[in-house]
């Protein structure tokens, strides 16, 4: 009797904690929005820094999506810029078609992003179906090849503008729009990872053979994770398209894939909050040290090596800042008393 009472008590206090945590996250996001909006309105934060903040948001979306494939599913993907490119060009082409017919910026962005998600998702399906039979390095190489092919195709076909770039995309990415998209995407990814399907995906990372033995359809869940990752890469690409207004194929080369990869690795493979922190560090901080600019990529790469040598799990490892894991354990242990 006492044990049940204790369990109920635990569960109650813990639920209260979850509510508090959720409100805290909401408060942080809203506070961030309010502070930045005021700073922009008063002119303290000039256009350049607003632009940078938007870049950070885009990087968060891209890296969070890559984190599904690399962090949670445990597959090496070195061609994320390829999916991003597909999303960016789809969104750009749709926006050029519809920009004169639709008044609302948000609606244009929404429709184009949905289009971007669909094409990037289809690309993910097409690449993922054969590629996921490969393991480790080989999958990495294959996605690398895919990313390069996408870039070369974009460069050589006509309707993308080729090397001259795709012009005429409305520049409508504002800070509130970027923040809203990022919050929605990260929330969806978080919910996905913590759903039944997400758990299956994480179990594949931990031990493929054991997961198969408990009845998880490995191929299906690997493919699911891969497609979701490429879809959100498409969203990141669409944000990028509306920020840049002109798209060039060379913006989506191997270095871009590596950049996204570095953000994921620094933040911790399997940690969304880690991804957010490291996107902020890697995009914003180097800009503050302007004189440092020449050494920027040198620092990036040395950082990557040093992290791997001394802290291979990244800043956050697999943990989140607001971790729900502890609570789960507590409830479980109290249940075990019976």
């Amino acid at each position: 009797m006492n044990a049940i009472k204790q369990a109920l008590l635990n569960a109650f206090t813990e639920t209260k904690k979850v509510v508090v945590e959720r409100w805290m996250i909401f408060a942080i996001v809203f506070g961030f929005y309010a502070v930045v909006s005021i700073l922009i309105a008063t002119g303290t934060l000039n256009r350049y820094y607003t632009f940078l903040l938007i870049s950070v948001m885009i990087m968060i979306v891209l890296a969070a999506s890559l984190n599904i494939a690399t962090g949670f599913l445990g597959q090496l993907v070195l061609g994320h810029a390829g999916f991003m490119a597909i999303g960016a060009y789809t969104a750009g082409l749709i926006a050029i078609q519809i920009k004169d017919h639709i008044g609302s910026d948000y609606l244009i962005f929404f429709i184009s992003s949905i289009g971007a998600m669909i094409t990037a998702g289809i690309a993910g399906l097409l690449v993922g179906t054969p590629a996921l039979r490969l393991r480790g390095d080989y999958l990495g190489i294959m996605t690398l090849g895919f990313g390069e092919i996408v870039r070369l195709i974009i460069r050589n076909v006509e309707f993308t503008g080729g090397t001259f770039g795709l012009k005429g995309i409305p520049r409508l990415m504002t800070f509130p729009m970027a923040l809203l998209t990022t919050v929605i995407v990260v929330t969806i990814i978080y919910m996905f990872i913590n759903s039944r399907h997400g758990r299956a995906i994480i179990s594949i990372r931990e031990d493929e053979i054991a997961s198969e033995n408990v009845g998880i359809n490995i191929t299906r869940f690997k493919l699911l994770g891969f497609i979701v990752a490429s879809m959100f890469a498409g969203v990141g690409g669409s944000m990028f398209a509306f920020k840049e207004a002109i798209l060039y194929p060379q913006s989506f080369d191997f270095i871009r894939s590596v950049e996204i990869f570095v953000v994921v690795v620094l933040g911790g493979m399997g940690s969304l909050s880690g991804t957010m922190i490291s996107a902020f560090i890697l995009i914003f901080v180097p800009e503050l040290l302007r004189d440092f600019d020449q050494y920027r990529y040198l620092t990036y790469s040395s950082l990557l090596i040093i992290i791997m040598l001394y802290r291979p799990q990244g800043l956050m490892g697999k943990r989140e800042i607001f971790s729900f894991k502890k609570r789960r354990k507590l409830i479980d242990s109290s249940m075990n008393l019976d």
Binding site: N156, F261, Y297
Partner: protein, 295 residues
């Protein structure tokens, strides 16, 4: 027909360059199971070394052979240092960590070169004469002949080294089973360093020929030939030296043929498409052995 044969000869020349670089990829993969992404950059540094030796020391007037050997030894040293600094600690780490380190190393070297020499392309004169030589009625430039001849010579030397000498045999032993080799009294660290040294030296040679063929050196010149050579290594079965050589020549010839018979825009795309097709149908490559995954 004449165009075809000419392209085959050019293909052999590009192919030798790719084969030289691919050997480095494949040797390192064979011995520590790491895709050494920094290899393309070692190749670039090799080309820069040759460039510096050829032009900075005008007073010395170094002969071609000395320039090549000097650059190769510098690159070999570089390979050893890279391995000691970045990869050695990660031998027991998950493969993904080592791979990320290799990517980091590649970017680091690229940006280091950018910082030292600037981003502009420098003109590199071919250090051997390019005047044509007539073979069976075909005019072939001396540079092409030297590229093909020297590459094949070095690859034959490598083959003899690996199959007959003691360190060569030790190298094969380490790639078979590191632990067992250690128990047999082989100094595994030395052998790994040696592998990196040889691979880097051959890569540098490839880089020098590449720079001379295209007449320029620049910090990002290692990326594309590096990837192509890597495709060659995968094509032949990564870890297999003969396979890497064959792969190099196949990629080189395909590349030159597509350049001649299409607009040339699609050359790189075809190489990558080839990579994907190989990986899909025979991920272990042409000469690779199928290995069952251990449970």
């Amino acid at each position: 027909m004449e165009l075809f044969i000419r392209q085959i000869i050019n293909g052999l020349s590009t192919g030798s360059i790719y084969a030289l670089i691919a050997v480095g990829y494949t040797m390192v993969y064979g011995i520590i199971k790491l895709i050494n992404f920094a290899h393309g950059e070692v190749m670039m540094f090799g080309a820069y070394f040759a460039f510096l030796f050829a032009y900075s020391f005008n007073i010395l007037e170094l002969p071609f052979f000395v320039i090549i050997l000097l650059s190769m030894s510098f690159a070999a040293l570089m390979g050893i240092v890279i391995e000691r600094l970045a990869y050695k600690k990660l031998r027991k780490a998950p493969r993904i960590s080592a791979l990320i380190t290799a990517i980091g190393m590649s970017l680091f070297l690229q940006n280091l070169a950018l910082l030292i020499w600037g981003s502009e392309k420098r003109k590199m004169e071919p250090l051997v004469s390019i005047e044509p030589v007539s073979i069976f009625g075909f005019e072939v430039s001396r540079l092409t002949l030297v590229t093909i001849g020297l590459s094949i010579t070095f690859m034959i030397i490598l083959r003899i080294f690996i199959h007959t000498t003691k360190p060569g045999k030790a190298m094969r032993a380490v790639s078979q089973d590191k632990e067992a080799a250690l128990l047999m009294g082989i100094n595994v660290n030395t052998i790994i360093s040696l592998t990196f040294a040889i691979g880097s030296a051959l890569g540098a040679l490839g880089g020098i020929f590449y720079a001379m063929t295209y007449g320029q050196v620049y910090p990002t010149m290692g990326v594309m030939p590096g990837l192509k050579a890597f495709i060659a290594a995968v094509f032949g079965g990564i870890g297999n030296i003969t396979g890497a050589m064959i792969g190099g020549y196949v990629i080189g010839i395909i590349e030159n043929l597509t350049k001649a018979y299409t607009t040339g825009e699609w050359t790189d795309a075809i190489a990558f498409a080839l990579l994907i097709i190989i990986l899909l149908f025979k991920p272990t490559g042409l000469l690779g052995k199928n290995k069952k995954e251990k449970v």
